[in-house]
Symmetry: C2
Subunit: 310 residues, 2 copies
C-alpha cells in the first residue's frame, strides 16, 4: 500500500521547534527536542523530501539539527536566533488521557516571523503547524500556489484569535484538528454537524484526530474512519498529532494524488506512523523508523477493519 515514489514533491513544514520537559507515567525526561515542526518533518520525511522553516535559540544543539538532516530533511530554513529556544513543560495523567501544562517559555519563538528561503516558495505541499494564525497567514503570503495546504491549530487560537483564524481557514484546503477543537471551533457538539460547519468556513477537507479512538476524514467523498493502532505500551503521546499531520502530507506527496483512495490510505498511514510516535519518549521512536516497519504495521491496521473472508 506504500508505493514506490510516484512524485518527488517537497513538503514544506512551518512550525515550532522546542525543548520539552515531560513528566510521563513511566519516566521523566528533560530537554527533549520537540515542537510541531520536528515531529511533522520526521514523519513526512519517511515518504517525501521535507523542508522546515522554524526558529531555535543559541542553546539548541547542532546535533539535533543534524539528526533531522540525517533523515534527509532540508534544514536551511531553521533560523538560529539569539536567546533561548521555546520550552514547554507538561505533566501527563497516569493513563495518558490528559495533560497539564506546567510551564511555557516562548523565548525566541515570541518574535518568530517565518521567512521562507526563495527556494522554498514553490513547495507543492505545505503544512502549517500549530502556530499563531497570523504567522500562518504570513507563510501563505509567501508561497506560490501549492497543490495542497494543510494547517493545524489549537484551542488557544480558537478562543483567543478567532477572527484571524477564520481568515486563515479561508485560504487552506485541509484542516487537521482534534475532536475537542473541532467542537470548540464549530460551537457544536455533534461531530457530523460540526464538520459541516467548519468545512463551510473554508477548508474543503477536515481531518479530525481522536487519539486512541482513531481519526476521521470529512470531504466531498463523505466520511472516512481510520482506527487507531491499539498499543500495548503507550509511553509518550507528545507530538503524535503533529506526526499524524506530517505523515499524511508526506504520503500524499509520495502518491502524487489527492483522489479519494489516496486520501483515505493517507489517513491509515498517518494513524500508523502516529502509533510509533507514542511508543517512545519524544522523537526517539520516529527517528529510528523506516518505511518497512510502517508498511508492516499498516497491514495490521488494515486487518482491524477487515471483515471479509481471511
Amino acid at each position: 500500500m506504500i508505493h514506490a515514489t510516484r512524485s518527488n514533491d517537497p513538503v514544506l513544514i512551518v512550525g515550532s521547534m522546542a525543548f520539552d520537559d515531560l513528566e510521563l507515567p513511566t519516566t521523566n525526561a528533560k530537554d527533549v527536542v520537540g515542537g510541531s515542526a520536528t515531529y511533522a518533518a520526521l514523519s513526512a520525511a519517511l515518504f517525501a523530501p521535507a523542508r522546515v522553516v522554524a526558529v531555535v535559540g543559541d542553546d539548541f544543539p547542532s546535533s539535533a539539527v543534524e539528526l533531522l538532516a540525517a533523515r534527509g530533511i532540508e534544514t536551511s530554513g531553521i533560523e538560529r536566533a539569539a536567546g533561548k529556544t521555546f520550552r514547554w513543560a507538561g505533566r501527563y495523567a497516569k493513563n495518558l488521557t490528559s495533560r497539564t501544562t506546567l510551564d511555557t517559555q516562548l523565548n525566541v519563538f515570541a518574535d518568530f516571523r517565518p521567512k521562507l528561503p526563495d527556494a522554498f516558495r514553490a513547495s507543492p505541499y505545505l503544512l502549517l503547524g500549530n502556530i499563531h494564525p497570523s504567522l500562518q497567514l504570513e507563510v501563505l503570503a509567501q508561497v506560490e500556489r501549492p497543490k495542497l495546504v494543510a494547517a493545524d491549530t489549537m484551542n488557544f487560537w480558537i478562543s483567543g484569535e478567532r477572527p484571524t483564524l477564520l481568515e486563515m481557514l479561508k485560504k487552506i484546503d485541509t484542516l487537521v484538528i482534534n475532536d475537542e477543537e473541532l467542537r470548540q471551533l464549530a460551537e457544536e457538539h455533534n461531530v457530523k454537524k460540526a464538520a459541516a460547519i467548519v468545512r463551510a468556513m473554508g477548508p474543503k477537507r477536515l481531518v479530525v484526530k481522536r487519539g486512541e479512538y482513531g481519526a476521521m476524514l470529512f470531504d466531498d467523498h463523505g466520511i472516512f474512519f481510520a482506527p487507531a493502532y491499539p498499543l500495548e505500551e503507550e509511553i509518550d503521546p507528545t507530538g503524535a498529532g503533529d506526526t499524524f499531520a506530517g505523515a499524511l502530507m508526506g504520503y500524499l506527496s509520495r502518491e502524487g494524488s489527492l483522489d479519494r483512495s489516496s486520501l483515505r490510505k493517507g489517513l491509515m498511514v498517518a494513524a500508523t506512523v502516529a502509533s510509533f510516535c507514542v511508543e517512545g519518549v519524544g522523537t526517539e521512536r520516529l527517528a529510528a523508523l523506516d518505511r518497512e516497519q510502517v508498511a508492516r504495521r499498516l497491514e495490521d491496521l488494515r486487518g482491524l477493519v477487515h471483515f471479509g473472508k481471511e
Copy 2:
C-alpha cells in the same frame, strides 16, 4: 451482507423490562417502555426468532407485550407479578455523553428469579442481559448446551458483586461491555491489556462498546474495529448497548456461523442497528425498523472504513 436465513435458531434473551422516565436534551418522556430485554429482543428479532424471559408488574400494559409479539417475539416467558414494574428515571447531559440516574425503583424486579419455560431450555443462542450475576448463573443452570452464550454487565455488579460475576464469566463465551466497564473489571486502563485480562477470566470473545467511537471485538482472530455510524440527530441513547448486543446475537443466529467473518460482520450490523435506536425516544425507532433499512445503512457504514478504489 445480510443473507437470507441460513439458520432458524432462536435467541433467548433474559433481562429487564421497565418503565423509563427520560429527561433528554430535546424532550422529556415519561413511562417509556424500556429495559435491556425489550431493546435486545426487538433488535434480535430483526434477524432471528427471539424469546424473552423477564418480569413485569400488573401496571404493565398488555399492548406493550403485544407490540413485541407483533414483531414475532415469543413473549410467553414474560412473567406478570403482583406489584409495580421496574422503573428507572434519568437525566442526560446536553451533549448526551453522560447521564445521571434520578431514581431507581426495582419493584417486582427485586424478587425476580428467572424461570425458563421448558420449551426455552434448548435455546441455541442465549443473551444474558445486564441483571445480577447470580441471576445470570441461575439462567445458565437451566439451559441445555447453547451454541453461544453472551452476557452484559455493568459497573454496579463489577464493584459490588465481583466474586459472583467472576464465577459467571467462567461460564460464558462472549462478554459485551462498554470501555469504562472493561477498564474497571480488568483494573487496567490500556484497552489491549485490559481485554487480555478479561479474556483470561473466561469469555473467549470480548465485545467492547465505545459509544460514538464504535465497538471492538477481541478474540482468537485478533482485534476488529467497527465504527459507529455518525448520526446528525441523536435523540436518546437509552438501550443502544442492549440493542447492539441483541442485534449481534440475532445476526449470528441468522448466519448460523461463528467464524471470523460472521463475527466481524455481526459487529458492523450491531453498530448499524444501535445507531437507529439512538434516533428515537425509547424503542420507537427500533419498533418500526426493517432489515431493508438496516441493510442500506450498513452499506454506508462499510463505506466509512473502505479505502480502496470506488
